[in-house]
Point group: C2
C-alpha cells in the first residue's frame, strides 16, 4: 500500500553539515523489490581512526542479533568505532543461528574492505521480524562496492535508505562550542511504529567532530536519551531493534574531553540533547497514521519517575489517542489513564489543562468549564495537555501522536 | 452514531433462571435522551434478608465515587446485601463533592423505600467520566417507583439498562449441587471498551440462591476473577468504575457454607468461575470494533505471573491486534510483544503456534514454515496463539479481541 505522507513532513530535508572524519555510501540489496520498489536499503558509514562512540539499545528481551552484537562490540572494543552497516527490509530479529551468520559475514566483509577491527564495526537492521536470510552474505556482499563509494555523506540518501513505514526521511543538525572551538553534530533517524519509550526507540545515529572519550560520550548520551527518545511513544510497542548511537570523530579543533565533570562538556551535552529531541520529535510526527503531535506534561507527582509513568500511561491510552484524533477534549479519559498508572494521585488536587483551557481543578470539572474552548485546542495539530496530580516535586513530559484509521491500515497491510 | 452489532452477538439473550430472594426493576432517567434514545438506564435489585455478598473493584487510583462507596459498605456492613442501584449514561467518576452527594441521595432513597441499612446498599455508575449531576437526587428520584415495581428479574431488561457502547446485552447462567442440593447462578455484565485486566474490568453481577458466608464468598470470587475478568483485555485501558459483585441469597435448600476449606464449596467455586468466564468472554466478544476472539496461551515461563504478564503484553499490543484484524499471522510481532514484557524469556527455546500451525521453534522460524497455513488460522473468528518461552512451570492465558477501524470510529465519536 502507498502510505500517505505525514502532515508534519517538512517541505524538504534539512541541511546537515559535513562532519570531518565521517564518510558514507548507500546501495540497494533489493529488500523492497518484491513490493515493486527500487530503493536503497543499506548504508555503510566509515569513521577515521580515533573515533569514539556510545550507544543505548532496546530493553526488549527478544532483541535482534544486531543489537546483541553492538552491545558486545562496545564492551570488547572499548567504544572505538570505524564502521556502521545498517539495512532496512529485514530486522534480523528472532532469526536464530542464521541471524548470527548474517552478522559474521557482514562484519567479515567490512573488516576486509576497510582494514579495521571487528569490534570497531557496528550493525543494525530494521524491517520484518523472524525472516532469516538464507544467504548469510546477503548484506555483506554489498560492502565492497559501498567501501569503494565512500564519500562525504549524502545525509538525505542515508536517511532514506533505512526508512520502513516512515513517510519522510529524518535528519537534524546542531552546533556548539567546546572551549571556544566550534563543533558540529549531524543526526539521522528512522521510526514510525513499534515506538515506545524504553531506552532508545528506533534507529538513530548522531555524528560529531567533537573529541569526547567513549566513557564520557556514553554518559552524556544516557542523559540526552531520557529527555528525547525515552520520552516518546507512538503505540506502546517496543521494537526488537531499537538503537541510538553517537560517533565522535575528534576531527574538530576542540580539545579532547576525558572527564564527565569537565565544565567544557556542558554545551556539547546540551547540543546532543537538542539533536536527540529534534530527531525523536520527527519520529513522533511520522508516527504511523499521526495527525496530531501531543505533549503530556505531568507535575505535582511524588517523584520524577512517577510523573513520567503517569504521562506515559496517558500518552499510551488508545482511548485518549482516538479522542484526540477526533479533536475531542475528552479529559475524562485523561483522568482514567492517569488512574490506571497505579501511581499515587491526590484526587482532590487533580487538575487538567488543555493548552490554556482549564477543564478540571481540585478534583472536579471547573466551574466555568467550556467544552468548546477545550475542543478548539484539540482541533490544532499540536496539543499540549497539562496534568497536575498533587503537590509533590515530580515533573515529567512524554510526547506522542494520535491513533487514527491510518495506523490500522498500515499495520494490517505492512507484512502482507 | 449507530454502533454495528458485534459479529459474536448471540441470536437471542440466554435463558436465565429465577433466583429466589432476588427481585429487580428497571427505569429510564433520560440519560440517553440527548442522543435521541428512549431506553432504560437505571436498575434496582432488592435482596431478601440474609443475603451475603462480595465484590472486587478497579485498581484505578481515580476510581469512581460509587466504587469507593461499595468498598466502604462492604467493610462496614460485613458483606450483607439488601439492594443494588446501577445507572448508565454517567459514570460518577471524577465528579468531586457532587459525586458523593449523588450517592448520598440515592442511598437515602433506597434505605427509605426498602427499609434497609445504608451499608447493605451497593451502587455503580457507568458512562461519561467527569460530568457531575447538578441534581444530587437525579438517580435517587427514580428509586420509589422502582421499589414499587420490584418483581422476579427480567434479566434481559436489566442487562440492557446498563449498556453503554455494548452492542448486545450480556447474561449467563450456571447450576451446581452443594451437598446434593441444586443451586442456581445468574449473571449479567456490561463492558466493551476501557477494558484491561486489573481486578474486575467492567460491571458484572452474579446472583445465586446458594448460602455462602460473605468471607467465603469473597474468597471464591477472588479465585474466579483471576481466570475470567482478570484475564481479558480489549484496549489496555482500565476503567474508573470496574465492579464485579456476587450476591448469595441462601434461599435454596443448600446448607450454609462458612468455611473456605469446606469440600462442599468446590462445585460452587467451579460454577462461579464458569459463569464469570462466560460473562468475561461476552465482554471480549463485544469489545469495541471486535471481529476476532483471540486467546493467548503462554507456557514455559518462570512463574504463573510471568506467563500472564507476557500473555497480556501480547494481547495488548496494537501491532499484534491490527495484524490479526487483517488476518495476518504476523508472528514476528508476537516475538516483539513477548520481548517488551521484560519478563525472562529463553530465546533459544521460544516457540510459537497459531492454532495447530507451528511457525517458530527453538528460537527460529520452523523449517517447514507455511505462511498460508498460519494466515488461514487467522482468517477464522476464533484464533488461539500458543507461545512457549522456555522450560519453566509458569502458564497463563489472556483473552482479547482485534483492533479495527470500528474501535477508532466508536472512540472518536463516543462523547461528542
Amino acid at each position: 500500500m502507498k502510505l500517505k505522507t505525514s502532515p508534519f513532513a517538512p517541505e524538504r530535508f534539512p541541511d546537515l553539515p559535513e562532519i570531518a572524519g565521517v564518510r558514507a555510501a548507500t546501495a540497494s540489496r533489493g529488500f523492497y523489490a518484491g513490493r515493486g520498489l527500487n530503493r536503497d536499503d543499506v548504508f555503510l558509514f566509515a569513521f577515521d581512526d580515533g573515533t569514539s562512540c556510545a550507544g543505548v539499545f532496546t530493553r526488549s528481551t527478544t532483541a535482534s542479533a544486531d543489537v546483541k552484537w553492538c552491545r558486545e562490540a562496545l564492551k570488547a572494543g572499548g567504544g572505538k568505532a570505524r564502521a556502521l552497516v545498517v539495512n532496512s527490509g529485514n530486522s534480523n530479529a528472532f532469526t536464530g543461528p542464521k541471524g548470527v551468520l548474517k552478522n559474521d559475514a557482514t562484519l567479515a566483509a567490512v573488516t576486509e574492505a576497510l582494514g579495521v577491527s571487528k569490534t570497531e564495526c557496528f550493525l543494525a537492521a530494521t524491517g520484518v521480524i523472524g525472516e532469516p536470510l538464507d544467504d548469510p552474505n546477503y548484506v555483506g556482499s554489498a560492502v565492497p562496492a559501498l567501501a569503494q563509494a565512500l564519500t562525504s555523506p549524502n545525509w538525505e540518501a542515508c536517511a532514506k535508505a533505512f526508512m520502513t513505514t516512515d513517510t519522510y526521511p529524518k535528519g537534524a543538525a546542531e552546533r556548539c562550542d567546546i572551549d571556544g572551538q566550534p563543533v558540529k553534530l549531524a543526526g539521522i533517524a528512522k521510526g514510525s511504529g513499534m515506538i515506545a519509550p524504553n531506552m532508545a526507540t528506533m534507529l538513530a545515529y548522531v555524528f560529531t567532530d567533537a573529541a569526547i572519550a567513549a566513557e564520557v560520550l556514553d554518559h552524556v548520551l544516557r542523559e540526552a536519551v531520557e529527555a528525547s527518545f525515552n520520552a516518546i511513544t507512538v503505540d506502546s510497542d517496543t521494537s526488537t531493534s531499537d538503537t541510538l548511537m553517537v560517533f565522535a570523530t575528534g576531527a574538530s579543533q576542540a580539545p579532547l574531553i576525558t572527564d564527565r565533570d569537565d565544565p567544557r562538556l556542558a554545551p556539547f551535552a546540551a547540543a546532543l540533547t537538542r539533536i536527540c529531541r529534534e530527531l525523536a520529535f520527527q519520529v513522533i510526527k511520522d508516527g504511523e497514521g499521526a495527525t496530531k503531535f501531543i505533549t503530556i506534561h505531568v507535575s505535582g507527582a511524588e517523584t520524577q519517575q512517577s510523573a513520567k509513568t503517569i504521562a506515559a500511561d496517558i500518552a499510551n491510552s488508545p482511548l485518549v489517542k482516538t479522542a484526540l484524533a477526533a479533536g475531542d477534549a475528552n479529559w475524562g479519559r485523561v483522568v482514567m489513564a492517569a488512574g490506571k498508572s497505579g501511581e499515587p494521585i491526590d484526587l482532590s488536587e487533580l487538575s487538567i489543562r488543555f493548552g490554556d483551557v482549564h477543564v478540571a481543578e481540585a478534583g472536579s470539572r471547573t466551574a466555568d468549564y467550556d467544552d468548546d474552548a477545550a475542543n478548539a485546542v484539540c482541533a490544532e495539530p499540536h496539543i499540549e495537555i497539562h496534568v497536575s496530580v498533587g503537590s509533590g516535586p515530580g515533573r515529567g513530559t512524554v510526547y506522542t501522536c494520535d491513533l487514527t484509521h491510518a495506523y490500522i491500515d498500515i499495520n494490517g497491510a505492512y507484512r502482507t
